[in-house]
Assembly symmetry: C2
Homo-oligomer: 375 residues x 2
């Protein structure tokens, strides 16, 4: 079926989708209704009060207050996405100094820092098989930067949960070190907030960047959140000189319609679902446990504390060597069984996510992987 | 009816909407289908090839080539919106010098330039009642900046059609002057491309910024286009040092789902509708002609060359003085007649747009305004 020349997409309706990019961004029914209702351009501006974040019909201002509380922060603005939130902070703070980031950071953090003119230093992970970031290494990183450049960095960034291994770093430990060194602390929660509870105050974060499409069930419009601690408003939420209601780091109004409405419509469900995070972790642990019965090894920290699972799978790689479909066999066999979300052709190392699956679905996924592996 | 706590929006279905922000961004049926189909987070990444702009399923790469041709430019990238396209250019080019802009520019241009660290100079309009920008004033502006700062500006920006009066400036004349002075030329087409034909080559534009939600029928996701001339790729579409497929001015991938799909789905209709631009102008001229039969005066250039119409309406202001609903009477009387899109309470000066209305609807709108004015 076609939309003009475009293929209609048919994933969530017909398959169990394991794509870690997509499992936390599936829309709720209410988000779908909101998107369809506010589908036209600038629909969100019907009752404009001069800027998006102060609009009260729909109650964006109230929503931003709630979100800020939800994250344990003091104020929040909508952004086009998590990367734009990160860039906004970096751009506001950068005077061309340096930034210390974790070695597992998302590419968009690195690209944002480069765009903001910051010199990038990294806290390395501890390598195969766990690839863990040690929070204490931030202190060493700060000292090294001081030695090399004469100054501590202008900003520290931590990827709370990385998108490669699904490792959770103890953000509170990093926050403590940042606070000790008086280095502003930006926490990237693309894979954590919206899935699990985040308390920015307890963590000691100055800034929290969130991804609406990755973890807040806000769907495919472009939407994120930047929440900050009191004291940073003047620098990071600074308005234009001649446009006092327009924060320059979001170019005045970041969303023009359905994207923000979707985030708002899903928010009540997000508040509920973070309460069930422990069960999500149990599902991931169960699946890993099952898969490791055959020649499959989970990479990243053990036991798993997150639904994003990186696997090393010699079992499928060996089958691919003699299979007539070569490396593609795994993709097609899974698809035949109603499972999708992995890159076609990949058999040795890949990532999956169990987020939002029912226990029955997780058990079925385990069964299928084992069966294909001949276990 | 509610979506959770959110009110369902009901505008295009039940009213003639005259809001100039919204008339060019109404979704086509195909865009709606695309949005619904790609509604979930990162849905556009199903067949990721490493970056959004090189993806071929759906054929984003092909689409960007077509859009670039359509605008008479050499290459194009999707952005979160027109303002983000403008900021991308400004940020890539700025070394802290100056920019010359038209005095009718949108606030987002000014905020973008400020964010990019550019000192802003303006070409003034010629004041009441036409508020026109004279292209030749760009030469004078360049010379003044040179006198004051010792250097010509790093960039010139022209708002092709401004959002206040709907005046069209002869962009080719500005382009000629910019080229003579070797000042890079950024054309903001938020209210022109997608409505009328644009030929960047003929205009002499180095950069063209487009608004998907304002003029390309792409709806309420956040989406724009930045098209550039050959020679600027290295500076403006520069990739990250460690991420060779990720352009840093769009932070790698600017759209995560339905927004870009909506733009793509509406594009065949946009290509058709720009052919009918003359008729859109005639409708606006007809309406102005009718309204000026009573105590209403069109502001901005005469005759009108665009659907965005700014009106000075003493007739309604006088009625408001003694009406029991005061300034709100106009809003409610129009709403009773099935017409919406103006700020409640405003009776003296306001903006409307006839874009996309049928001739019957335009005639009806004229009739209603005259009737309310007692004409």
């Amino acid at each position: 079926m076609n939309i003009g020349k475009l293929e209609l997409r048919d994933r969530e309706e017909s398959f169990i989708n394991l794509n870690p990019l997509q499992t936390g961004g599936k829309t709720t029914a209410d988000a779908r209704k909101a998107i369809i209702s506010y589908i036209d351009g600038y629909s969100i501006c019907d009752w404009c009060k001069g800027a998006l974040h102060i609009t009260t019909e729909p109650d964006i201002a109230g929503f931003l207050g709630e979100v800020s509380d939800f994250l344990g922060m003091d104020s929040a603005l909508p952004t086009n996405g998590c990367r734009e939130a990160k860039f906004g902070v970096m751009h506001a703070i950068s005077t061309g100094g340096s930034i210390l980031c974790d070695g597992n950071m998302h590419y968009s953090s690195e690209v944002s820092a480069e765009r903001a003119g910051l010199k990038i230093y990294k806290v390395p992970n501890n390598g195969e098989p766990e690839f863990k970031i040690n929070p204490l290494d931030y202190a060493e990183g700060f000292e090294n930067i001081k030695k090399e450049t004469g100054k501590y960095p202008e900003l520290a960034l931590l990827t709370h949960v990385d998108g490669e291994y699904g490792n959770i770093v103890d953000a509170k430990e990093v926050g403590k070190i940042c606070n000790d060194y008086s280095v502003p602390f930006l926490l990237n929660t693309a894979y954590s907030s919206g899935r699990m509870k985040i308390d920015g105050k307890k963590i000691g974060a100055d800034f929290i960047a969130c991804s609406g499409h990755k973890s807040w069930a806000a769907g495919g419009g472009n939407i994120g959140i930047l929440a900050i601690k009191d004291g940073w408003q003047e620098k990071v939420f600074k308005p234009g000189t001649n446009w006092k209601s327009k924060p320059i780091e979001i170019l005045g109004c970041s969303s023009r319609g359905s994207s923000l409405l979707a985030l708002m419509a899903s928010f009540p469900y997000v508040k509920e679902r973070v309460e069930k995070w422990d069960d999500e972790v149990k599902k991931a642990q169960y699946l890993v446990n099952e898969l490791e019965k055959i020649d499959i090894k989970q990479l990243g920290e053990k036991p798993k504390n997150h639904d994003l699972i990186k696997l090393d799978t010699p079992v499928y790689d060996n089958i691919a060597k003699t299979h007539k479909k070569k490396g593609y066999f795994l993709y097609y066999e899974l698809k035949d069984k109603g499972i999708i979300g992995m890159k076609p052709g990949r058999t040795r190392k890949f990532k999956i996510s169990t987020y939002g699956l029912s226990w029955e679905q997780v058990a079925y996924v385990a069964e299928c992987f084992l069966e294909i592996g001949g276990g």
